[in-house]
Symmetry: C2
Subunit: 333 residues, 2 copies
């Protein structure tokens, strides 16, 4: 069995048919027909064995997660997911692994009407990298850089379960079904694709929460400050802040039962891997955002407000707290 | 130093400016403006330490090669290279490595007017994966599937030096400068971008030679046979063949001095990693192809002809030879 047989056998199951794929897997390149008057949104996310996942994740979980983390980036831009390319590095051509992974990948891609258009299969330490492409009407893409003073800050879903599930020993107080619910948030996150689409021309800034709410909200503050200040502005002269009511952060009953209410809030603030959206909106349009969340069948929660300066400021029941605002940094020591 | 700092510091040097990059590195996705009436050509190639390269390759070589192998796929489709996304997995945040790699990447991308629009930097065993995108007028993309009986088969450049350089001990008979010339073909191949563009609406089929001429020409035969037979044709009823004059394969003086004339021909037929183009053209248009090669400043050589059946048939000075027609198969045992 060689590389080409592998790809044919396992990845031809990913049979999402799209009229805009002029030429799919099997040539030097795929040929795709993009929409007129649209921007392509392009993102790449890599998952490395032992770094981004452990042996608890099945091949099917890995396929689900790989698609989810990439589609989550498209969601944060308000883009419709269209096509993906897979760079898969495997220690051996393990047919069971490939079959389980391939089936789950096909299922997940079909769910989002996304076509696998190419990639590369190589031998080496288990590494999965996906490049996903979506499309958004030109000028309507959501970015990190449009937040303004007075904007309301919201998040989708609930936060912190993925971070909680990272350390299996923390889950011991939970029942098996509670444990499975928490782990599902780490193993199979839900990309908020529908919500991202409804937030177009509504949210002033948007990001997906992968490094942790505090780290990712800081990205919004940095990029929006820079945009306000213009290209030549020094970061020190123009700097937005954010006031977060940590007691309002949406958390699960499981997280509260393991960490307590305050612990669950701190975990929601700083944990990573949630793949929820954090976004800002002018206060006058809050009702529209609530309606957008309902339309997308996705809970949205107001957690704070953009302010003129001071960086990220966290309050718990009205008291300022200094919880370490560090997200998950891949190379931090 | 964390992931974000790394990316900013080293990859902001890749400063190719393109008006069609509406939003570059630094948000959840890049936003790109594709051309109207064009197809996107998308390809992904991965290089794994110890599998696709060894310690002889410097960080700068790796950057050159990574770009080359991906742009070679775009060249084989006749696409103009536009944008790349980099998935880089590194054992540690080695600043010297990153600096050398980043500078060479920037240099190579600038040379082709290609913008780095995003990617992911992760910790793990050294693995480099690039997704490259180009554009080609809709309907003008070169494919593997248009070869017909009587078409002339050509290759660009010369073949076999990369395969020769794979085994360092084979290079001992060469002088230092000869050795460097041969190794350059493995470490820093030249993607035939210009030639690919001139072959649009001229070549009937095209592929880049990565697995070896014999294996890659077989891909043309398979895909073109299938295209001739229609979707429902069995492979056994319609099957093109190719007659190759192995003595006409373009080889280097270095390869001949190490392997002898016949050995150099066999090595050119079966070796991999050349990243030259192999393409077919109706015999009536051969003069145009010769002119195209001159225009692209790239040598092109007639090596054989497409025939009605019999698969790949190799002749050396008029005698049929049965040199093992195996390309480099990543998972073959």
């Amino acid at each position: 069995m060689n590389e080409f047989d592998l790809i044919r056998q396992y990845f031809q199951q990913t049979d999402t048919e799209r009229a805009d794929v002029a030429l799919g897997i099997g040539d030097d390149c795929a040929l795709l027909q993009p929409l007129a008057h649209h921007h392509l949104a392009v993102t790449t996310d890599t998952m490395v064995d032992g770094v981004h996942f452990d042996e608890r994740l099945t091949p099917a979980d890995l396929a689900y997660k790989l698609v989810a983390v990439n589609l989550s980036d498209l969601a944060a831009m308000g883009a419709v997911p269209c096509w993906v390319s897979l760079a898969l590095t495997l220690p051996s051509s393990d047919q069971t692994w490939l079959s389980e992974f391939g089936q789950a990948l096909a299922h997940q891609l079909r769910h989002y009407q996304v076509a696998l258009v190419g990639g590369d299969t190589t031998r080496g330490p288990l590494t999965l990298s996906l490049t996903a492409q979506g499309q958004v009407p030109a000028g309507q893409g959501l970015t990190r850089s449009g937040a303004a003073v007075g904007d309301v800050i919201l998040v989708s879903g609930h936060l912190g379960d993925a971070a909680l599930a990272l350390n299996q020993h923390k889950l011991t107080p939970l029942t098996a079904s509670q444990c499975a619910r928490v782990e599902a948030r780490l193993f199979r996150p839900t990309p908020r694709v529908e919500l991202g689409l409804t937030l177009r021309q509504l949210a002033s800034a948007c990001i997906d929460i992968s490094d942790g709410l505090s780290a990712d909200l800081n990205h919004i503050l940095e990029r929006s400050s820079k945009a306000l200040g213009g290209a030549n502005a020094s970061m020190s002269t123009v700097s937005l802040g954010a006031c977060i009511d940590a007691d309002k952060l949406p958390v699960s009953a499981e997280a509260v039962s393991v960490l307590g209410e305050q612990g669950a809030a701190a975990n929601a603030l700083n944990g990573g891997d949630d793949y929820e959206l954090c976004f800002t909106v002018p206060a006058t349009r809050l009702n529209e955002v609530i309606a957008a969340g309902k339309k997308a069948n996705t809970p949205v929660t107001v957690i704070g407000e953009i302010v003129a300066d001071g960086g990220l400021q966290t309050y718990y029941l009205g008291q300022a707290v200094d919880w370490q605002a560090q997200g998950y940094l891949h190379f931090s020591d």
